[in-house]
């Protein structure tokens, strides 16, 4: 019933509870955290049973009025608490619950200021769920910004040697991106009307439950014919609800984001500028070249569990934001900038892979491989085909699981010897065979070997990118051809690291001390790595388990985007004729 609010508020409540526990009760604090994480996984699975995936519409909607600001003669701004789930965010919520669960296990060894750590971690979890569940742009932005605060402290206090620099760089860089999102959000907020509440204000219906399709269309007709400007303007109710923003007929004709404007800025109409601004904001989070430079620093200096959460789920918020907000609200931007976005994606894939090849620190190598893999998401989205979008969503999910595993693997080594240099280890397979097995699984899954989930994701992205030329004519073939080299490069750096560190004759830089410290996997690490390996293998062999949840959504998404992009550039009167 209120399942979505429960998923959102449970970690928040647990964070408050943790604040009241005394600091020395470390066991209790950790048990509270792990209990909440397990509960969230169970709730996500329960959510799976409650959604009808053949229906691409938003389900399990929770809708409450939050703020109503009178804007004088301009109208009223209404901000609401709207949560909803569909094919796009269900898989993200499931991934979030899994990654946060693994992160909690990975945080088990935090002994200093445990209470603060887990309180901040639970706040972070709540913000992440909020980002995915919120359908109101203001609510989404609230969680999107608020997420940065726990991350700043988590990296800055419990991180590595250069943690202060890394945390402030992460914070300011991502904040810079979110300022762009804020600007577009405010512009949208004063341009989009809520036809339901406006109908109530205009007196077309007595009760809000009596509003149906007819009434909504009447309000939109009144708006477009110019009847609702002038004296009646104060009856308009503006909204931040994404569901209304996606319909161009809800945009006030005189506002800056309407498609009837004649002026251009830098040669582009305002709607395309807004799309570009939103994209920049989310590309910083994704991260895409050239906005990626915060990621290596943040990953290297963060503690293992925070790296896991950062790579596993925080980067996906960028991709989710692009799909839900940038593509959903400004589809004409998606079509106009398709080649640009695809090229950014391809550059991310190739450049990220080249950088990873050059890295000597294992965590930095994996950080750059994250940049490279998220480039696939961009490529799939830019193709605007059903296969491409499906592949992009699959890549988000699969990369979430695989990068979690990769960071846990680095964490295993770092916990023992506090050294992550690739050159300082050789032939670890003979000393830690169990660990090497999981490393092999993780690395092969990451480079896209068939049988693991990464392969399915990449193949669908390529299918979409290749087909795009014939289906919707957006992407030329050469983009996909260049991108396939990324797969080759991905193989190079992973196999090289594998060969250098794990196979061959056993040698350690630290000599005897390290030899003593390098025990094989503990139980806690097994609890993390075994489920992750199983998930990636299962989703590699039975991809329909995932595609069943997103198929209907992707088809609808692609159709709506292509259709609306054509409609949005026509004038209103043509639409309503």
């Amino acid at each position: 019933m209120h399942l979505l609010s429960l998923i959102l508020l449970l970690p928040l409540f647990a964070a408050v509870v943790t604040l009241f526990l005394p600091d020395y009760q470390r066991k209790k604090i950790k048990y509270v955290a792990i209990f909440v994480a397990t509960l969230e996984v169970i709730l996500s699975i329960k959510l799976y049973t409650k959604i009808d995936f053949s229906n691409a519409a938003i389900q399990l909607l929770e809708h409450h009025q939050w703020l109503r600001l009178g804007l004088g003669s301009f109208g009223t701004l209404s901000i609401q608490y709207v949560l909803g789930v569909d094919g796009l965010n269900f898989s993200m919520i499931l991934l979030a619950s899994l990654v946060l669960f693994i992160g909690t296990i990975a945080s088990w060894h935090i002994e200093e200021k445990t209470k603060g750590y887990f309180a901040l971690y639970l706040l972070l979890s709540a913000s992440v769920y909020g980002c995915f569940l919120a359908l109101d742009f203001f609510l989404f932005f609230l969680f999107f910004e608020f997420m940065l605060l726990p991350m700043y402290f988590l990296i800055g206090i419990w991180g590595g040697v250069r943690r202060e620099y890394a945390s402030i760089k992460f914070f300011l860089y991502t904040l810079f991106g979110s300022v762009f999102v804020l600007i577009v959000m405010i512009l949208l907020g004063i341009s989009t009307i809520d036809p339901v509440q406006t109908a109530l204000n205009l007196g077309l219906v007595y009760d809000i439950h009596l509003v149906d399709e007819q009434v909504v269309m009447k309000v939109q007709a009144l708006l477009s014919s110019g009847n609702l400007s002038g004296e009646l303007k104060h009856l308009l109710v503006y909204t931040m609800d994404t569901r209304y923003m996606t319909d161009i007929k809800n945009i006030v004709p005189e506002s800056i984001l309407s498609n009837l404007n004649n002026f251009t800025l830098f040669g582009l109409p305002p709607r395309l500028i807004a799309f570009a601004a939103l994209m920049i904001g989310f590309l910083v989070k994704l991260p895409a070249i050239p906005f990626h430079t915060w990621l290596p620093d943040a990953h290297v200096e963060a503690p293992t569990a925070i790296s896991v959460v950062l790579a596993g789920i925080l980067l996906k918020i960028g991709g989710y934001g692009i799909m839900r907000f940038a593509y959903g609200i400004f589809p004409e931007g998606a079509v106009h900038f398709a080649v640009t976005i695809a090229v950014i994606g391809v550059i991310s894939i190739i450049y990220g892979a080249f950088n990873a090849l050059a890295m000597k620190d294992m965590k930095k190598m994996i950080a750059y491989s994250s940049v490279s893999h998220m480039g696939f998401v961009l490529l799939g989205l830019a193709s605007l085909t059903a296969e491409g979008v499906n592949g992009a969503l699959y890549q988000q999910f699969s990369h979430g699981i695989i990068s979690t595993m990769l960071f846990v693997i680095v964490g295993v080594l770092y916990d023992r010897t506090h050294n992550r240099n690739i050159d300082d280890y050789r032939g670890l397979a003979s000393k830690m065979p169990q660990y090497t097995t999981f490393t092999v699984i993780a690395f092969f899954a990451a480079l896209g070997l068939p049988g693991f989930s990464g392969f399915i994701a990449e193949i669908f992205v390529f299918l979409g990118a290749f087909n795009s030329q014939s289906i919707n004519g957006l992407l030329p073939h050469w983009i996909a051809i260049v991108a396939t080299f990324g797969v080759l490069l991905g193989a190079t750096y992973f196999l090289w690291a594998l060969q250098k560190m794990y196979f061959g004759k056993y040698w350690l830089k630290g000599g005897h001390e390290w030899n003593e410290a390098l025990t094989d996997l503990s139980n806690r690490e097994l609890y993390m790595l075994v489920p992750l390996s199983l998930i990636t293998i299962v989703f590699g062999i039975f991809p329909h388990l995932y595609f069943d949840t997103t198929a209907a959504f992707s088809i609808e998404f692609v159709q709506e985007t292509l259709l609306n992009s054509k409609l949005n550039v026509q004038s209103f009167h043509q639409i309503l004729r």
Partner: protein, 494 residues
């Protein structure tokens, strides 16, 4: 020649109007009462407590009078159009009164606080001045009120009787006297050109449009300048850092909130009159007042934000951060719509709360420099968390009132920009640039506000950190100041 009839007529009018003037009269009475009580109880042990109780009682009585007097809630003018009353004015007066109330509570809770007992009387006098400032419809009335506030502030700012305090008080006095003189000169120029001192009056507006525009421009610029000095906006903000550094914290708390509230409200009045006039300096240059306003705002934001980055002293930091916030509030006023005014007032209220919380936390810990903040997070649990929350609120991160206030101000400016034609006018292009500049400054703000939790939690210190013990009332007051920062986010009172 006055006839007896005229005289008695005027007296009757004055006495009639006095009934609506009750709150201010009561303030005047309490001012005298506090001075007398200071004399009577000079040697008493409980002098501070008695004076505080009296002043708190006085403020509550004044608040009661404000709310219950029906005259204050209807729009009317008093004393031959010198004073205006109305609902928004009463709301602003209540805001100023609550600032005064909080300052006295500040003093009351801090036990070993040595401040001269004239402080309470001066505070009441200053509040009276601020009330009249907010109510005035006549330029001379405005000037008198501002002088009252200024003189009380000059004396209060020197109340830490050390060398720095004396220097700061002297600087403030000289600078303030000079700016008052210039303001008077501007007012007299305006009077000379228009023949009327009642701004907003029909005769005034009419003569504005026919007057010699060069002289009028100078006159209005000078008169404007006095107001800008009071709210410590650029380019007259140089007194603020020195005075805030040297004055005791309760005085800083008062100076950084109440005069700004009154000053910005008066600025809204000014703005409504001036908005429609553009002046041609010469045949070639057409100066729009909006442009001048935007320049002032841009300078304020620039100086406030970028100077705060380099500060080592926490109180100077508070001064520069309040200059930056004034810049944001003025953005709301620049919007020119009633929504803009309301959002500016909301920002003022939220800013006052945030400032009070921040200054209270500084006062109980007696930390002056940034270096002393290092590594305190380890020992001081509640205090450090509350200070972090204050910094988050001042920086403007959801879910605090700082974010919703900034959001409302930006929305107001964008809305008015939309209404006045967007990018098609030159003013519109500059307004958009100003908005983008304000966003950029928000980013800079994050950087310097986050220095504080960074130093507290992340930096390690070489010195030994001793734990500070705070009394229970101190802690309760601190928490009571911080919790509304969240509540106001969820329930924006506009």
């Amino acid at each position: 020649m006055f006839s007896i009839d005229q005289l008695s007529n005027q007296l009757r009018l004055i006495t009639q109007d006095l009934s609506s003037f009750g709150a201010e009269l009561l303030l005047g009475v309490f001012f005298l009462v506090l001075i007398l009580m200071d004399l009577v109880f000079n040697k008493s042990d409980h002098k501070k407590a008695i004076l505080e109780t009296t002043s708190l009682f006085g403020i509550l009585a004044v608040a009661y009078l404000l709310i219950n007097n029906v005259h204050t809630l209807t729009n009317q003018t008093l004393f031959a159009n010198m004073i205006v009353l109305g609902k928004p004015i009463t709301v602003v007066k209540l805001m100023i009164l609550s600032c005064t109330f909080l300052v006295i509570v500040f003093n009351a809770i801090k036990k070993n606080f040595l401040i001269p007992s004239e402080f309470y009387a001066l505070l009441i006098a200053s509040t009276l001045g601020l009330f009249i400032m907010v109510m005035s419809a006549n330029l001379l009335m405005l000037f008198i009120a501002m002088e009252l506030v200024s003189i009380a502030s000059y004396i209060m700012s020197g109340f830490k009787f050390d060398k720095k305090g004396a220097e700061a008080g002297m600087k403030y006095l000289l600078f303030g006297a000079f700016s008052s003189a210039i303001m008077l000169y501007g007012i007299s120029l305006i009077y000379g050109l228009t023949g009327s001192l009642y701004y907003g009056d029909f005769q005034f507006l009419q003569s504005l449009s026919v007057a010699n525009s060069k002289l009028l421009f100078i006159g209005i610029l000078f008169a404007f300048g006095g107001l800008i000095f009071k709210i410590s906006a650029a380019p007259y903000q140089v007194w603020a850092p020195d005075v805030y550094e040297a004055a005791p914290i309760s005085v800083v708390a008062f100076l950084s909130t109440a005069p700004k509230i009154a000053g910005i409200f008066v600025m809204v009045f000014y703005w409504q009159v001036l908005n429609n006039f553009s002046f041609s300096w010469s045949s070639a240059i057409n100066i729009d007042w909006k442009l001048i306003y935007y320049i002032v705002i841009a300078l304020t934001l620039l100086i406030g934000n970028f100077s705060a980055l380099w500060q080592n002293n926490l109180k100077r930091f508070v001064a520069y951060s309040s200059i930056a916030h004034v810049g944001f509030i003025l953005l709301g006023v620049a919007a020119g719509t009633s929504f803009g005014t309301k959002s500016a007032l909301f920002y003022l209220g939220g800013y006052a709360l945030m400032n009070f919380a921040f200054l209270w936390l500084l006062e109980v810990s007696e930390i002056e420099k940034f270096e002393d903040l290092k590594d305190i997070g380890k020992k001081q649990g509640l205090w450090a968390i509350l200070l972090t929350i204050c910094c988050v609120a001042l920086a403007g991160i959801p879910p605090t009132v700082g974010f919703s206030a900034k959001f409302l101000v930006f929305t107001a400016l964008l809305e008015s920009w939309n209404l006045s034609g967007g990018l098609e006018t030159v003013n519109g292009k500059i307004a958009l640039l100003l908005l983008l500049f304000a966003f950029f400054n928000t980013l800079v703000g994050f950087f310097y506000y986050f220095k504080i939790p960074y130093l507290m939690y992340i930096k390690k210190s070489d010195k030994i950190i001793t734990e500070m013990n705070f009394s229970v009332p101190a802690k309760v007051f601190a928490v009571a100041m911080v919790i509304p920062l969240f509540i106001l986010f969820f329930k924006s009172i506009l």
